[in-house]
Amino acid sequence: MSPKTLYDKIWDAHVAHEAEDGTCLLYIDRHLVHEVTSPQAFEGLRMAGRKVHAPDKTIAVPDHNVPTTLDRAKGIENEESRIQVEALDRNAKEFGVHYYPVDDIRQGIVHIVGPEQGWTLPGMTVVCGDSHTATHGAFGALAHGIGTSEVEHVLATQTLIQKKSKNMKVEITGKLKPGVTAKDVTLAVIGATGTAGGTGYVIEYCGEVIRNMSMEGRMTVCNMAIEGGARAGLIAPDETTFEYVKGRPHAPKGAQWEAALNWWKTLYTDEGAHFDKVVTLKGEDIEPVVTWGTSPEDVLPITGVVPNPEDFTGGKVEAARRSIEYMGLTPGQKLTDIEIDTVFIGSCTNGRIEDLRAVAEVVKGKKIKDGMRAMIVPGSGLVRAQAEEEGLAEIFEAAGFEWRLAGCSMCLAMNPDQLAPGERCAATSNRNFEGRQGYKGRTHLVSPAMAAAAALTGRLTDVRELI
């Protein structure tokens, strides 16, 4: 038998039907649902008189529109947001899918809740009407975002019409230097490949740096595979994965656990398997990074300067000019001279417990800069509870951070957490697009430790100076 990649193995285990032209029906093991991309899909089912094919494999949670202030029990003020969340409440009940409503402590960002509850397991196919579904690839699950028509298709048939992508290997060798985190790794990869570099591929991340990473770090890396254009990112499961999964509410137990483990241990890329594209980065070469522009590929080490548009070629010259103007920067300006108004720590990229611990390490016993607006939004109610138990919340509040309830918050500003025009934010989220965090808002993507450093000094800062 010819050697297979991890992607080949998971793909082969899920093809329910293959047409002559290679178009497949891929069976979906877990379908995650949130309130923004699902109402039209449920409505479509209703109008066609269709049911959800596998409600026990469908998990819904509201996250995008949910307010994160402590008074959210009083309800959602914005009428459209409220209607969207209420539609999910109703649809979850009517169609009988698993549901974590706003007032459930397990509620949170869908990509944090899925792994936390043990819904996401190695070797699965996972989809969600959300591009950051790539996160679940950290478990060696084939996970990707889909549109609303596809959400309806999966609800109705538990399958997706797909053609196989190409295989790409991203290897990160060696070790990371102090102060360099999973977020820096994933941004550095996008900086190297570009936002379209992964288009048409499923990426497998591997190498010593990935092996040494926690599950939280691996989720951060895979989360941004979509920002590199890839359909999905994958990491082969290992002892770190099994340790994380074991004992979670929906993880297999007893004899089933042993059977699952036996299969999961076969989920790796065989020696000699073919990759269509290979990218290698040395861990030692990766610095703490920030984005200067309005595309996640606009990445530079914090020690760098704002580039000159003329340094680029082709369509990127005009795009860089537009970005620099939008961001209110000057070519040649030192990145560490950029002053920050707001710090946002949270999102499906960096809203997990390890991220919060990294922030606490930097800010413990210190105060954020006067006038700085800084918020920490845990990825789920359970992350929040754990941070309180570990004493992190006290550190944050003593330093001057707002300590919020779980949700997508300012990552995309569909809820009350938004930037004002011209407001500049160091954010641990995943997109620095124009207007992403609020109309004319300016976003610099960074790691949690770097965001914490910026909160203390009031400008983009090399966290290594503070640790």
Binding site: A16, G229, A259, A260, G314, R431, E434, G435
Partner: protein, 201 residues
Amino acid sequence: MEKFQKLHGIAAPMPLVNIDTDMIIPKVFLKSIQRTGFGKHLFDEMRYNRDGTEIEDFVLNKPQYRNAEILIAGDNFGCGSSREHAPWAIADFGIKCIVSTSFADIFFNNSFKNGILPIVLPQEQVDILMADAEKGANARMTVDLEAQEITTSDGVVITFDVDPFKKHCLLNGLDDIGLTMEKADAIKTFEEQASQARPWV
């Protein structure tokens, strides 16, 4: 779904690279629970001032492009989120075909589900179409899906590739779910085998 067969219309040039889904339809408009009515918000932040007046030099506000049905765009069109509101807004505006050197994967798939034909061409050919689009409203191009050909206003013919299954669905306006449900037996068989092999799922 509406059929796409042959289109003869105005093409608008948008050479900017990395046009993302937040540009196409900002998140403030994602709160609707309907599929319709997004066209007036297409490219909202590029198209309108905050007071609702139009930004004159935005391409779709120029008189010659207000009725564009084709978009010739820079690399990596549609990158970003999975929001199908992006193709809903594009279709609702009246654009039925987009040409670029590359598209983001999810956007590309979403387009086909909404009667929009995304066409990938090499840079040199996109350049030819971009130049043709820049001529304005008198320069109409023809996109023939059956023949897989684009004809510029001055008669240059460019052929393109399209996935045969997606082509079939677009030409006939077919609903994916109905087609998949015809394979219910295969899905059932798969489920029986999978629940034996991986009962923990």
